[in-house]
Subunit: 159 residues, 2 copies
């Protein structure tokens, strides 16, 4: 079972592919942070996100999309841009008939740390304990994407 896990963003977007083999442990097959350039026009930045996601799907062939829901918005303009990016991502999944699982930040925190008010450091630390990661440094966005993928595995297990 392969999951495409995405922490949606507009300037930076965390993306990961997680795999779980029968009776095996979860593994991170791929993780990265897509960035879009402020120099580009808005619609071209959305295109870059769509292309980045399409490339990862083509290369790693995940079966399910796990993505974070937008929640508790403080900056309206940012929220709109991230929602537009989410639309592009959901569309890429739907075109390929990939089922979509959406999770709130609260659900992700509880699934990964057992505690709904955990901070970024706690999420990162638990992700490193819970799953085998390729060597190398990772950005927060990547850890967030991996945490969303782990949440998806946890819910698939119980359903």
């Amino acid at each position: 079972m392969r999951i495409l896990a995405i922490d949606p963003g507009y300037e930076r977007l965390g993306i990961a592919v997680l795999e779980k083999k029968l009776r095996g442990k979860e593994e991170v097959v791929f993780s990265s942070c897509l960035r879009t350039s402020k120099e580009e026009e808005h619609s071209k930045r959305l295109e870059a996100i769509g292309k980045g996601v399409a490339d990862v799907i083509a290369k790693y062939k995940p079966e399910v999309l796990a993505i974070e829901k937008l929640f508790l918005v403080t900056n309206h303009k940012t929220a709109m841009a991230v929602a537009e990016a989410r639309g592009v991502i959901l569309h890429e999944a739907a075109k390929r008939n990939m089922p979509v699982r959406e999770f709130t930040p609260l659900q992700v925190k509880i699934a990964v740390t057992g505690y709904g008010r955990s901070d970024k450091t706690q999420v990162t630390a638990m992700v490193e304990r819970l799953i085998q990661l390729p060597a190398g440094k990772r950005l927060d966005d990547e850890y967030d994407a991996i945490a969303i993928g782990l949440t998806c595995f946890a819910t698939l297990r119980v359903t």
Copy 2:
């Protein structure tokens, strides 16, 4: 010059193609209201919007996308869904290298009625005076899309 004009929505989306020939008047080549079904999953509804827009682009070959910006949001959940739909639409335009012009509802009202606080009835009445429309009944969403297209022509004229 052909414009694809869209009043973005999630359940209902107004879409129109407007044309202006050299020294000619503006004409509405096509207008419709795309609807998505509540029975469908969220990502499938976004896919339907993407497909609907792609079909109109393929058939009428517009050169520019004119689309309304989201503004003054009262319902957060609706705003997120509409922003996601906007993302899908902007992505369809960007993939085809179509330039995008965005307008606020205020800009559209001023361009069409000369008055920023005009209501739907006034916008509809002015659209009917300003542009040659195909026969038949139209929904508000279609009038809104046509008004956005007219606003785009007005700004292209002065720039």
